[in-house]
Amino acid sequence: MRDVAIVSFAQAKNVRRELDANEVEMVMPVVSEAVEQSGIPRREIGFTCSGSCDYLAGQPFSFVSALDAVGAWPPISESHVEMDGAWALYEAWVKIQIGDIDSALIYAFGKASMGDLPDVLTLQLDPYYVAPLGPDSVSMAALQARAYLEATGRSERDLAAVAARSRKDAKTNPAAQVTGDFDPERLLGEPYLVSPLRKHDCPPISDGAAAIVLASGDLARKVCKRPAWIRGIDHRIEAHGLGNRDLAKSLSTAEAGRRAGLGTGAVDIAELHAPFTHQELILRDALGLGNEVRVNPSGGPLAGNPMMVAGLARFGEAARVLMDGQASRAVAHATSGPCLQQNMVAVLEGE
């Protein structure tokens, strides 16, 4: 295996509604910042891969027009995944492993504000038996939350504690959308949105963009003082039908974590792509993260959740902590699909 590291990360501030910039205008400053920070000249970057979803904007091939932001003429080597940018990072990592390139630019963008996000997310469900019934994303997460609370004996108070901690940690993250000091007891006084979930258990709807540059071995060491090395990475998927899965557990996360080499040593921090409070607890259980592991020091998706971006941002936030020298081993996680259907886990290390 070749050594591959994250050498730069940039993201736009997460906002509820970006009315000024279109997708290209949102992506461009973020890509420019990541490329500049990487120290690798744009034309020397071997591969570009992006993650986005045309359903969010309601524009076919919106990912093609986003290429205006990266300087794609004369033609560059490029690819796209209709998924969170974390899966674009995985594709780029594989391409570097094959050995024909040494660096890659990954970017992701999502402007959920242009449509009705819960309705858009319904369209990712089984098109024959589930989608026509129209269950929205929050209701499905609530099914999972109920299953988890009943199965584990955890309480809604535990969920409120996750929300309060996320919003508090997000105060130091300039990209965060929902920040502040909240008393978990008072949060529990709020009405249910879809029981057992209250508003604080759900992520905000966000517009945003993020970019990462990957580099291999010597190039990474040359351009970055303290690269965030990807020591292991894996992703696993579960059945499409929610009834075929144990919603209270995340077997795919556990398996991806095992294959990524998580068990070979302690970790300091974890950036988990858990859009709902109970999902952070499910992921903690699946990855065997004890109380000594600091989870989502950035505030996580509960503080800002741009679709197709938030997973890639977890990789960026975990890498940033390592590049800053504040930790030496971190977990980055990304999810896709309803109720943690598909999960990616990477183990990152500073030098």
Binding site: G71, P74, M114
Partner: protein
């Protein structure tokens, strides 16, 4: 074949989504220009290319194109085709002419209709001008320009637009 063995070939699964378009900074400037009968482009600060309509970035240099440039409605046909296939979604009857038009001072041709010209007289290098809708019908839309028509100027030389095919 009995009724029970007939294949199930369809279910009803209606989908309805509504989206609100965000034009973005560059397109907003362009569309507001359209409402005033003006064609506004943007120049790349690095390579100097002028994009009409502007998308806010230079696709070559990957930098914001923040210098606004007004161009006239005069330009050159760089390539064209005669459409002879009827379609329900078209508001005009075939045959008609579609062309790529490079406006004077711009570096990117765009797609437009050519009219007021027999379709078999359209040619590469032909000089054309924009025909706008009446002033009271101008709006923030590309449809403020109805079509392009020939003008009485000598054809542009191939050299002058060969980089823009």
């Amino acid at each position: 074949m009995s009724e029970s063995l007939k294949p199930v070939t369809a279910i009803k699964a209606p989908v309805h989504l509504e989206f609100s378009y965000t034009a973005g900074r560059a397109s907003t400037r362009f569309l507001r220009g359209m409402a005033q009968g003006k064609i506004l482009g943007q120049r790349c600060p690095e390579c100097g290319k002028v994009y009409v309509p502007p998308r806010g970035s230079c696709t070559i240099c990957a930098v914001p194109t923040d210098v606004e440039v007004e161009v006239t409605g005069k330009g050159t046909v760089t390539t064209f085709c005669i459409v002879r296939i009827p379609s329900d979604s078209l508001s005009i009857d075939p045959p008609f002419t579609c062309a790529h038009i490079l406006l004077d001072g711009a570096d990117l041709p765009f797609f437009a209709l050519i009219q007021e010209c027999p379709f078999d007289e359209v040619r590469m290098g032909m000089r054309v001008e924009a025909v706008w809708v009446p002033k009271e019908e101008l709006g923030p839309t590309f449809e403020s320009i109805k079509y392009f028509r020939p003008i009485d100027e000598p054809d542009a030389s191939f050299e002058s637009y060969k980089e823009h095919l």
